[in-house]
Symmetry: C2
Subunit: 331 residues, 2 copies
């Protein structure tokens, strides 16, 4: 009896789906997007790959979409949010490190002298990351990130950093998932910095977050197994590292990729060079009033080569100012 | 109209599920298992973590189960199947490497002198892996693996290697998935060696395969992006590397782990030390007639420390000979 009921219902639902009466999610799944060429291109692509029997149909298992994080899903100005975390951690940890008062780049951080910090270049930033991200167990670090997000506030908006995500992109993530896509983050940011909150904020579970990492080491501490974070780079998930990270974690080539900077160029190249329907999109930060406006000359999130290639290859370029009705969920 | 039909059907199915009339999968999902303590322990654990409202209930998203591959899901004698692949590749590639005729360990491979090959120890094996697994693109390598599996035959059974998977473990994988588990491979074997067939054979998609790897490099070749496999170790997913690989790929601690050797010890420790209901199982190769019998003194798949720890901690130990009605699907 119950078997028959299940069968009848399943059959009925399948019929409805097959007959096209049930469209998974349609245009109004993107209410914060103006009806621009960008929005139309997204919808056209999703309809193409989900139309059973159509020339562009893609099996659900192959519907992999990859998203950069900084500048693509949330803001990245006036500095990467993870750097703000690292600077705050230097202040918290300073009492245990009296030597930092005399040692750069820590001295400059403690004195609030950001010019000197940034003048130290990549080397200084790596030192800051190592000193503030290593030395703990993976579980303690995740808790530290959560605690920081609970209290830290963005200098311009006064909001928690996780409020500064892009409402149109949240809708896009949900729209893709409603159409059978598996959504991944592929970020130059730290994998363990994003995982503690990516599921709550983006609906992306930890196993679908790919990022840069430091090495970890398995240890038994008083018979208790722990993973200890070491001050040693494991993987940089940026530029040519992004396709490498994608292959390592997913083992399939995505069919859609979303970025905003030159750090995403190779990810978009790798994604769009596959066979069949492909989609590549860049978020162009053009809204100095509601967010920030920057591109070819910015030191953060520089968009130069990728913008040229988008024009040459016909990738979709979102004009934040024109294409998005709202930027943040709290507006 | 269609909305109402969908709602009614969904509601009806939910009611059936909630009323317990539909049990996801029960004991007879494991028909190749004798009704032993091992089988009962598996079923007890699955019922515990899936009983809504019960003390051991685990949300589906956290139902992560990790499986070693060699010796746990398929056989590993008389040598790891990936080593058989590497040896065959040496023979295929030899015409392009005339120097191999005089150079160990290649010379010994070409002469069929396995004693000398194995006498070279780990260093010789790494050399063989590098020479046969690197130098190509990721896509060409996947095709090479598939082509080899189509034609290679196991020296004892004369069967394709992918036939030599354990029927009881296939049932266990399906049983766990039917109960909301996500099943992962966590193997010392090569991640790119397993991915091309793991979905077809085990129902495990590429993004749920974790293994050892060599480095890859993104390149544009005539404007075509490729990932090239380099002769350089990236990660060894064995022993203390297994929890590291699990954390890197999944970012959650599994609640169930399945292995067969000392290479799985840390994975089982890491898994079983988490909070709440946990399950750890070892496959003990005790059946010299239908498969192989080996444990504490075997150079392949040595089971010594893990066996002691299983006894001390009450982990489940499968006695292949007594617990499994059949070994392989083709029996």
């Amino acid at each position: 009896m119950k078997q028959n009921l299940i069968r009848a219902c399943t059959f009925g639902l399948l019929l409805l789906l097959a007959s096209g009466l049930v469209n998974a999610q349609s245009a109004d799944s993107l209410p914060s997007w103006n009806d621009s060429a960008s929005k139309q291109a997204i919808i056209r692509f999703v309809e193409e790959v989900t139309t059973a029997g159509g020339p562009g149909f893609v099996q659900p298992a192959e519907r992999i979409a990859v998203f950069d994080n900084d500048g693509t899903l949330w803001s990245e100005q006036p500095m990467y949010f993870q750097l703000a975390f690292a600077l705050d951690r230097v202040k918290v940890l300073a009492p245990q490190h009296p030597e930092w008062k005399e040692k750069q780049p820590f001295k400059a951080v403690l004195e609030g002298d950001m010019k000197t910090v940034l003048a130290g270049g990549e080397h200084a930033l790596v030192e800051l990351i190592m000193a503030t991200h290593a030395g703990n167990t993976t579980e303690k670090f995740a808790q530290t990130v959560k605690d920081w997000l609970d209290t830290a506030r963005h200098p311009k908006t006064g909001r928690p950093y996780t409020d500064m995500v892009f409402q149109p992109m949240l809708e896009l993530l949900a729209y893709l998932r409603a159409n059978g896509f598996k959504t991944y983050i592929v970020s130059g940011g730290g994998i363990e910095f994003m995982r503690p909150w990516a599921e709550r904020v983006y609906g992306i579970p930890p196993e679908q977050v790919i990022g840069s990492s430091i090495k970890t080491k398995f240890e038994l501490r008083d018979d208790e197994p722990v993973l200890v974070r070491l001050p040693e780079i494991n993987f940089i998930d940026d530029k040519a590292g992004k396709p490498v990270g994608i292959n390592q974690h997913i083992g399939r080539r995505p069919i859609a990729a979303f970025g905003n900077s030159d750090g995403d160029l190779q990810m978009l190249q790798w994604t769009s060079a596959g066979e069949g329907a492909r989609f590549a999109l860049l978020v162009h930060h053009t809204d100095a009033e509601r967010e920030w406006a920057y591109d070819r000359k910015s030191s953060i999130g520089r968009l130069d080569k990728s913008l040229d290639e988008a024009q040459a290859k016909g990738w979709t370029v979102v004009d934040m100012k024109k294409d998005w009705k709202v930027i943040y969920p709290f507006e």
